[in-house]
């Protein structure tokens, strides 16, 4: 065959291959955007996952003063008398709701006590985004009137009724919006923090030992081979190891169940090989002549490593950090047994919780898989990954600059 034809066929194959990957990537993005974009809002990001029903009465200490209530010019229907703005919304589950868009700081709705048994008297304030179910108010005669959800009809009517008839507010029944992912975002950040905090110093130090100090003997090549093998261990195995071996360690820190700390430790171990490998690759690239130069100037070995070698390797090390963060964000199997699959709205290091990826797993494995929410979370994960890449790149540039 003609050499030129062969060459063109090869070229064609590479074109088709790269076009294919671009198409696949675009298809995934399109799926996520078309399913999830409509759900993305600040409520989704900062909101609780679990909707809670609250029943609250205006606090006895509160003294109503109409003149103290301020102006509001935003969206929705505003009652200047009661300091509350409402609007009509349709929820993700196709329910018509009357939602709170604004509450004035001096409004009675900001000074309430819970009526729910078990948390008697706990101070509450109506939060934006909640949907109102019913209200008890006082009329001109001082009688308590029940304004049910049906009688409220819509936002405009509710405000009109309250403005015209109410002389005081007694209590309110409302539902906070759910489906938020704030807890999982925090849990994800905790996991990234814990795992990097542990795996970076250990990983970088081991790489320095292996590449700068260790001589080429049997034991060291065995260590190296072990590290390479660890890279290929399935993450669910790390999860099993975590829950059996590391759980007692987290107990020392005060954990009583599986916890984010346990997940973070497990991920730290899972990241070690990646960090060691990429640091070592970065060290290999640093020219030997720089080490020689430094040592010939009477620098000690550690001075040489910290002042010359590591700064030169910083970009390679950061690549490892990026890979590591990527793995933490994307990991779910290693976390199933270690952080649990229970979505937690207010995770702490010692509590259970789900990372964003694990949250997708959780909401999709229920009886009614929520594709929209899952897609929205995926989009948010992509944005986080993108943002972290960006930040780490900037850090890398800064570090490189401070060195040049």
């Amino acid at each position: 065959m003609n050499r030129l034809v062969k060459d063109n066929i090869l070229k064609g194959i590479t074109y088709i291959a790269s076009a294919l990957s671009v198409i696949v990537l675009a298809a995934i993005l399109w799926y996520l955007v078309s399913n999830g974009l409509s759900l993305i809002s600040s409520d989704l990001i900062v909101g609780d996952y679990y909707a809670t029903t609250e029943n609250a009465a205006i606090s006895n200490d509160y003294i109503y003063d109409e003149s103290a209530i301020g102006e509001y010019t935003g969206e929705g229907y505003y009652s200047a008398k009661w300091g509350i703005a409402l609007e009509d919304i349709t929820t993700a589950h196709n329910d018509e709701e009357i939602s709170v868009v604004y509450v004035d700081p001096n409004s009675p709705f900001m000074h309430m006590n819970s009526l729910v048994s078990g948390e008697d008297g706990m101070a509450l304030s109506l939060t934006e985004g909640s949907s109102i179910q019913n209200i008890y108010y006082l009329d001109e005669a001082g009688e308590t009137v029940f304004l049910s959800r049906v009688k409220m009809a819509d936002a405009q009517n509710t405000i009109a009724v309250l403005d015209a008839n109410a002389t005081g507010i007694v209590s309110i029944n409302y539902e906070s919006i759910g489906g938020g992912i704030r807890g999982s975002i925090f849990a994800t950040l905790y996991l990234i923090g814990i795992s990097l905090l542990i795996s970076l110093p250990i990983g970088i130090s081991s790489a320095i030992y292996l590449h700068e100090y260790a001589s080429k003997n049997k034991i060291n090549s065995l260590i190296r081979q072990g590290i390479d093998t660890l890279t290929g261990v399935p993450s669910i195995v790390y999860g099993l190891m975590g829950v059996t071996v590391l759980f007692p360690v987290t107990q020392l820190a005060g954990a009583t169940s599986t916890s984010i700390l346990l997940g973070g430790l497990t991920l730290a171990i899972m990241l070690l090989p990646t960090i060691i490998r990429s640091t070592e690759e970065a060290l290999i690239v640093v020219p030997q002549s720089l080490r020689d130069g430094s040592l010939s100037l009477g620098a000690t070995k550690s001075q040489t490593i910290f002042k010359v070698v590591l700064p030169c390797a910083v970009n390679g090390i950061l690549t490892g950090v990026l890979l590591g963060i990527g793995r933490v964000i994307g990991e779910s199997a290693a976390l199933v047994y270690t952080t649990s699959t229970v979505i937690n709205d207010n995770p702490t290091i010692l509590s259970q919780g789900t990372s964003l990826s694990l949250m997708i797993w959780s909401i999709m494995s229920g009886e009614q898989p929520n594709y929209e929410l899952a897609s929205a979370i995926s989009l948010i994960i992509l944005v986080i990954v993108f943002a972290i890449n960006f930040i780490v790149k900037i850090i890398g540039k800064r570090l490189a600059k401070s060195f040049v």
Binding site: R291, G293, G298
Partner: protein, 251 residues
């Protein structure tokens, strides 16, 4: 004339391969000593013995003695880091650190714990002036040294070495990658530095050895065939092999 290094019976092995055979010589203070010889004869290997840079090479074993100031530098009592502050080295390929020009020169003193900004400034300025680089870079001391030309980089490396005020400067083919102008600048520099420093230089350039050195040693296959005053080596070599090498090169 004071002796700087008294080299006695140095044998050096890379693994099983012997690279230096029974090397004996005296290197004098405040003189320029040149090493010449064909490629692979062990010149670099030997010059690296003088500040123990060979320690960094895995499988390299040295026996014999190199006496400096009454102490064998290969004895366990020798502090290697301290030795290297007194015996500086300039490499064949310029190897500036990827830092600013200022930081490159301040690197050595800083590693010794010097923090005083004024003193560092002074060291940087005088070192750069000594290598005749100051005027070229005075207004961009904060710029990266990587942006300098090859000849400038090499002079920077010499300045970096001088900044440590060592007793000895070892140079392994410092001009092999440079143009004639940079080369002659560095040669002038050697003659200048000789007043304050002992200089050992490896070179493939006979004229260069003849121009700048006081003593010349001819290496062949890991052995020192002949060492004498440069004039003698180039005019009346005692050994036939030296003569062949020198005349061969001169054509």
């Amino acid at each position: 004339m004071e002796t700087c290094f008294d080299v006695k019976n140095i044998d050096l092995f890379y693994g099983d391969k012997q690279a230096l055979k029974d090397v004996n010589m005296e290197i004098y203070k405040n003189r320029v000593t040149a090493f010449i010889g064909p490629s692979g004869c062990g010149k670099s290997t030997f010059i690296r013995c003088l500040n123990r840079m060979n320690d960094l090479i895995e499988g390299c074993k040295v026996s014999g003695e190199i006496i400096k100031d009454g102490l064998d530098i290969y004895s366990p009592k020798q502090d290697i880091v301290d030795l290297r502050t007194r015996v500086g080295m300039v490499f064949q390929k310029p190897n500036p650190f990827p830092m600013s020009i200022y930081d490159n020169i301040a690197y050595g003193p800083r590693c010794q714990g010097l923090k005083d900004k004024k003193k560092l400034d002074e060291i940087v300025t005088t070192s750069l002036k000594q290598v005749a680089l100051y005027d070229e870079v005075a207004d961009r001391l904060g710029d990266s040294a990587i942006g300098l030309s090859g000849g400038q980089q090499q002079r920077l490396c010499i300045a970096r070495c001088i900044a440590m005020s060592p007793e000895v400067i070892l140079m392994d083919e410092p001009t092999s990658a440079l143009d004639p102008i940079s080369t002659s600048k560095i040669e002038d520099l050697c003659l200048e530095l000789k007043k304050d420093y002992t200089i050992v230089i490896v070179t493939h350039n006979m004229q260069q050895a003849a121009r700048i050195s006081d003593y010349t040693a001819f290496f062949l296959l890991g052995e020192v065939v002949e060492m004498d005053e440069t004039d003698t080596i180039f005019s009346h070599p005692k050994d036939k092999r030296t003569e062949n090498y020198i005349t061969g090169r001169f054509g």
